[in-house]
């Protein structure tokens, strides 16, 4: 009954979850079912018409997944969230609500390579045109704005180089342009950075990474900040105009400050179909219960490893914004004071060959294409995640040929440093 605001750790454990109404089960049950029975024809009709709260079919809502959604919405400080099958699916669903064929959106050049591909190629076939801007030169976003611009997209901590984006400065550009700012907060998680506090209107995640945290489940999520007025200037007809598939309901009028999340669910997810498995939702929300503990440990370990590497004679450079000589250190201290995350890159004096040799000699770090696992991970982006980019784009996104990326896990840092030492000396 009180209005005490619980801390992040309490929300990570409790938000969205409540003992099961029928059994009293304290852990959230896995509702592994495709469908839910209707009370009667009238109940069915009112559910289909978005007039009642309730479940119809797991492609649209599921009680296990709903717990995950509310939990991430609470941790990010948003009004609502929608979980989907992957981070890529989250981006697809978000942009489908915002863009009509021929529209543009502005995206940071420094993104996960998979996002660069999705925006450059897959989205092009829908007539959605990406315009690139440089996160280290915020006015480049402003210069890219046209009357077709419908959104701005950045990563809070950029993959792979771990650079920090000045979210508030880009948010100011978005506000001036009258478009929403979308922030991919995957590498930071809300434990390190809460983009909504800095002006983001929509937050997306690959849940696969630090939120799930154990490298066992794919997932993605969209968080609605509840901050954007979709009715201005008829720029977002999906939100402001009557929807023919729901008998003329206007989503913003009906759902207010969580209308965007509803649009993503009842239009995007319903019609495109990338639903999250309830089992994955269960594993991911179990992971989130320990997010604050893991994320602090990930960051502390990463800092120790980065410091050790930067003193190593074979290392040419370490790009970790948690180091005081890094060009992003001031931004890191402002946006991520608890730690600069666990993903960063470094380059070796021996170039490409030394990088390949390091990766093959590591015994504890796993060579694979993921980040945000409890286990420490290593990859050579130029030959893997960013291999489909041309050389210029590779270098621009921080994935040049001599670059090795680490995702530092939650093992003992002494063991991680010992592994790197033996591999560098091998």
């Amino acid at each position: 009954m009180n209005d005490r605001i619980p801390g992040f750790g309490t929300l990570a454990v409790h938000a969205g979850a409540q003992p099961d109404p029928t059994t009293g089960a304290r852990a959230t049950p896995i509702y592994q079912t495709t469908s839910f029975v209707f009370n009667d024809a009238d109940h069915a009709a009112s559910l289909f018409g978005l007039q009642s709260f309730g479940n119809i079919y797991t492609r649209i809502t599921n009680p296990t997944t709903a717990v995950l959604e509310e939990r991430v919405a609470a941790l990010e400080g948003g009004t609502a969230a929608l979980a989907v099958a992957s981070g890529h699916a989250a981006q697809l669903v978000v942009f489908q609500q915002l863009l009509q064929p021929g529209d543009e959106f502005i995206a940071s050049r420094k993104l996960y390579g998979g996002s660069i591909n999705q925006f450059s190629h897959a989205f092009k076939s829908f007539g959605w045109n990406v315009v690139w801007a440089d996160p280290d030169d915020v006015p480049s976003f402003e210069r890219a704005v046209t009357d077709k611009t419908k959104a701005i997209f950045i990563e809070s901590i950029a993959n792979p180089a771990g650079s920090i984006t000045d979210i508030e400065a880009v948010a100011a550009v978005a506000r001036k342009a009258g478009v929403p700012l979308i922030v991919d907060n995957t590498l930071a998680t809300p434990y390190l950075i809460k983009p909504i506090d800095h002006g983001a209107d929509i937050v997306v995640h690959s849940l696969t990474k630090f939120l799930g945290g154990h490298g066992n489940s794919l997932g993605g999520i969209i968080v609605d900040a509840g901050t954007f007025d979709w009715s201005k200037g008829n720029k977002y007809p999906v939100l402001s105009e009557p929807r023919p598939e729901y008998h003329g309901i206007k989503l913003q009028e009906t759902f207010g400050n969580f209308a965007f999340a509803i649009a993503c669910r009842v239009l995007g997810l319903r019609d495109l179909g990338p639903a999250l498995s309830p089992f994955n939702a269960f594993l991911i929300q179990t992971g989130i219960e320990t997010l604050p503990l893991r994320m602090q440990r990930h960051s502390d370990n990463a800092k120790a490893v980065a410091e050790w590497l930067s003193a190593h004679p074979k290392v040419a450079a370490v790009n970790y914004s948690g180091l005081s000589d890094n060009r992003y250190h001031t931004l890191a201290r402002k946006y991520a004071p608890k730690g600069a995350g666990a993903v960063f890159t470094f380059s070796l004096k021996g170039g490409y060959d030394a990088g390949v040799s390091l990766v093959s000699n590591l015994k504890l770090f796993s060579h694979l294409a993921n980040v945000g696992d409890t286990r420490s991970l290593v990859i050579h982006p130029a030959s893997t995640t960013h291999s489909q980019l041309d050389d210029e784009a590779k270098t621009r996104s921080g994935a040049g040929p001599d670059v090795v990326r680490l995702s530092v896990g939650i093992e003992d840092k002494e063991d991680l440093i010992a592994d790197l030492e033996q591999a560098l000396n091998a």
Partner: protein, 198 residues
Amino acid sequence: MNHDSYNDAYIREILNTVKTVAMVGASPQNVRPSYFVFKYLAERGYDMIPINPGQVGKSLLGKPFVASLQEIGRPVDMIDIFRSAEHVMPIVDIALTLDPLPKVVWMQLGVRHDEAAAKLEAAGIKVVMNRCPKIEYGRLSSEIQWMGVNSRTLSSKRAPIPTQGMRLSLNRSSLGGGSTAAADRVAQQNNKDKNDTA
């Protein structure tokens, strides 16, 4: 009082205590929000009265339409205004002639009229603006969580199974207010911008 954001305690007390609700602008069309808010509140046990002069002689879910607030003929606890802001003041003026006065005047999502609110509050009537009672009831009971909405409440007690006509417990512990800090901030700014232009 501040109408940019509301404490959960304020909303909870209203939803827990009012029984009779007159809805001004109730629509017989089942795709209009007024229709399904009316239906939801009736299902949750509120004594609902539909007000719409164009529908007199017909009824809404078994409740006969009434032409105006004066013609209800019995006391109402709450008036829910489903009309846009420019229609609010005349409705409020009528509400202030009722005897006994209503305890609460609630204006729907998107409807805000600070002058009308001040007038009502001066007469001791509680005011809620730019909110939906269905959303607030769903939020405080956590029923709305099924749609991925942040209820801003926590509970370690077994959840109720909602059934037709059942009142849900709204007594979950609240996280400091009806909306998120970011959404509140924007609401406040928008209202300030509106007043500055006016």
